[in-house]
Symmetry: C2
Subunit: 397 residues, 2 copies
DNA sequence: CGGATAAGTTGTGCAGCGCAACAAACAATG
DNA sequence: CATTGTTTGTTGCGCTGCACAACTTATCCG
């Protein structure tokens, strides 16, 4: 039932072979933990050394890969290590969230080329104004690195995104918008703008550490978002959204949620709800973590309750979607160890397959505003996934 | 973030082109609602007419496709309709369930070539004995159609399947088995045996009506299984299982479930649980449906409770996985209309994206033991997905 | 210093597709 | 009933792109 070749969707011609193998070689180098030689790439991909040489030549000429100085390792001709080119192609990540707007320019090598950040309070804000600010930050960021060509822009938003439109962002009180259009009008140099859900793009950033991983990324913010990653790919529902973990019901008789239903996970384990229950409204998660150390009862109780609710929701998730690992990100990352016992207890009893595949729980890689980096990566994705198209664009200049 | 070409995984050589396009042409004909001509196939796939002709010739020679008599449609040379070949390749489906063991031989055209069924009571049964019975039924079925070459066998089981092993089937009380091995020893002529979860294979049968559909298939049995189908493909979790809808928690303080947790959906809406709550233990769903017509209070209350629970579980599912359609199958199919109001009420309030994409609810296509057909289709899948391999096997004879 | 070894390059052969021209089979028209 | 127009399917040719093998290059080692 599995393991068969990808379902063929469109005709493959001679040209498709090139596109496919070019992408294969590019990915192999871009995602390798250590810079591989041409011979390494040939061995890993199954392509002939001669073919790899030809393809690498194209990719180097197009500025996607670069060669290091040859290094000898034992006998034989020294290998020429290949690595992602730095500073030749970049993607711009933008993020609009409740408490800040930011821009980050990231190149193929994963280096942050430039960054701009504006803190603020954008709850119930005017979309055009904030999008204008984002466009401005993006423009500034691009201008600060004028010699780096940009493939496009990714925009992370805390809401429901579908077909490159924002359906709703409850915490911003934004609804039914076309932010990509607004951005492009304000700053055409941003190039094609791709929208993405904040949690999903944060998951994309998390992937940088292990490009072929499978996990559920849980992003704790005011709300609770999530994204499913399977073998290094974000799993998308039919409509483009999904993984709305925050609105899983954990308490049929619980509080009413902003979404209209009752007993949603967010009403128990969302940042604001949790801090309020702990008797620390307006505080930060870090402060809450401190209170736990001193052993304050109300804080403990609130965290325990949140952990149980999270555990139940995650168990439901794992039963339905079967992911091996759960990654806690953003504000939840700071509480991982406090939450662990409660979450693991629920996972242990409720996950049907726990005996054979106990879900692992871990903290996200430390990185401020991961969705910014994820958005930049999303903007670079077309280049990585289809280098041929980018190369012909480069040649056209 | 979406719509980019499939991630390249292995090297593509000239031969890969052929394999790809051969599969493309085969699929186009096999899944077409009406028999298409070569010219139709060329238009739909984007391949050149000449190429299609070459590929079709191979597929016809290999017994995968057959030509109808040419029919004139308006001006021009009459087109030669192409259709799946009947009786030249078949897959054998086996199913072991609580109340029967069955075998069904299905050819590429979807025709049932032969079938054998043995009713019984196999709860807490001896695996070797029942697998022997299944092997015997399979052998008989194959012998009754000796001139139809078989690609292999699919085996549907009501339990957790992973890497072609049965981890657990609580209702059979079978655990940690390798049924494929047992079958092949007992009847080598069954060929390669692929295991599959009952709900998942039933979903595969449901796909026959609309080969590119996306839906959640909910299979009501003693337990409640489910399978996610996205664009005509079964979505598999990382470990191979997932979609364990029956063990979603709907009532934190509810009954203890066989799985060890409390308040699972199965304990409210599973066939046995539902009938018991309705005051009809041991009856059939059809009888329950009748009682509803006469307006019996206890039956009504039980169904309403089940509908609400199902609605909550399905809402959770849709929020997490984002499927547009929910298909109720097996025993649940008979209650669809009785359950609809309760389910839709919950979906309406709990599904975050309901405003933009309200989930549809419908009954499965009428077909006895759909998992049998699905298992047969699963056995045929390798042929459909990689015709080249099958063709060279045919040529080798 | 020469042999062993591995990396990368060059030239040839072959598979497989698109393209264009062509043959086949029918309908419409006067 | 012959001619024209239209669509289907086939044939021959040329191009793309990969594998393969032989070769060159650059290093290590004895």
């Amino acid at each position: 039932m599995d393991g068969y070749p990808d379902r063929p969707r469109r005709a493959a011609r001679q040209e498709s072979l090139r596109e496919h193998n070019l992408a294969l070689v590019a990915r192999t180098v871009l995602l390798a933990p250590e810079p591989p030689s041409r011979a390494d790439v040939a061995a890993r991909t199954g392509l002939n050394r001669a073919t790899v040489s030809r393809l690498v030549a194209e990719l180097v000429a197009g500025g996607l890969l670069s060669e290091d100085d040859p290094v000898a390792a034992g006998a034989g001709r020294p290998a020429t290590p290949l690595r992602p080119a730095a500073g030749t192609v970049a993607g711009l990540g933008l993020e609009i969230n409740i408490d800040f707007v930011g821009a980050r320019l990231v190149d193929l090598a994963g280096r942050v080329v430039a960054e701009r950040m504006t803190p603020g309070h954008f709850r119930d804000s005017a979309p055009d104004e904030i999008l204008g600010l984002a466009a401005h930050l993006g423009r500034q960021t691009l201008e600060s690195a004028p010699d780096v060509p940009t493939a496009g822009t990714g925009l992370a938003l805390p809401g429901l995104v579908r077909e490159n439109r924002l359906l709703t962002a409850p915490n911003l009180d934004w609804h039914d918008l076309d932010p990509a259009d607004v951005l492009i009008r304000a700053a055409p140099e941003l190039g094609p703008v791709t929208l993405g859900n904040e949690a999903r793009l944060a998951a994309l950033a998390e992937l940088a550490t292990d490009p072929a991983a499978s996990f559920l990324y849980v992003s704790g913010e005011v709300g609770i978002g999530a994204a499913i990653v399977r073998d290094g790919e974000i799993v998308t529902g039919v409509h483009g959204f999904g993984a709305e973990l925050g609105h899983l019901m954990v308490d049929p008789g619980g509080h009413r949620c902003r979404c209209g239903a009752t007993g949603c996970l967010e009403t128990v384990a969302g940042t604001d709800a949790l801090l309020e229950a702990a008797g620390l409204p307006g505080a930060s998660m870090a402060e809450l973590a401190e209170r736990l150390v001193t052993g304050e009862a109300q804080a403990r109780a609130a965290v325990e309750r949140a952990a149980t609710a999270l555990g139940q929701a995650l168990a439901a998730f794992v039963n339905l979607v079967d992911v091996p690992t759960i990654v806690l990100g953003n504000t939840l990352a700071q509480l991982t160890e406090a939450l662990r016992p409660g979450i693991e207890a629920e996972l242990g009893t409720r996950v049907l397959a726990a005996r054979w595949a106990p879900p692992q729980l871990r903290t996200a890689a430390p990185l401020a505003h991961p969705a910014l980096t994820g958005a930049a990566r999303a903007a670079l994705a077309p280049v990585v996934d289809d280098p041929s198209a980018w190369l012909s664009r480069v040649r056209a200049d």
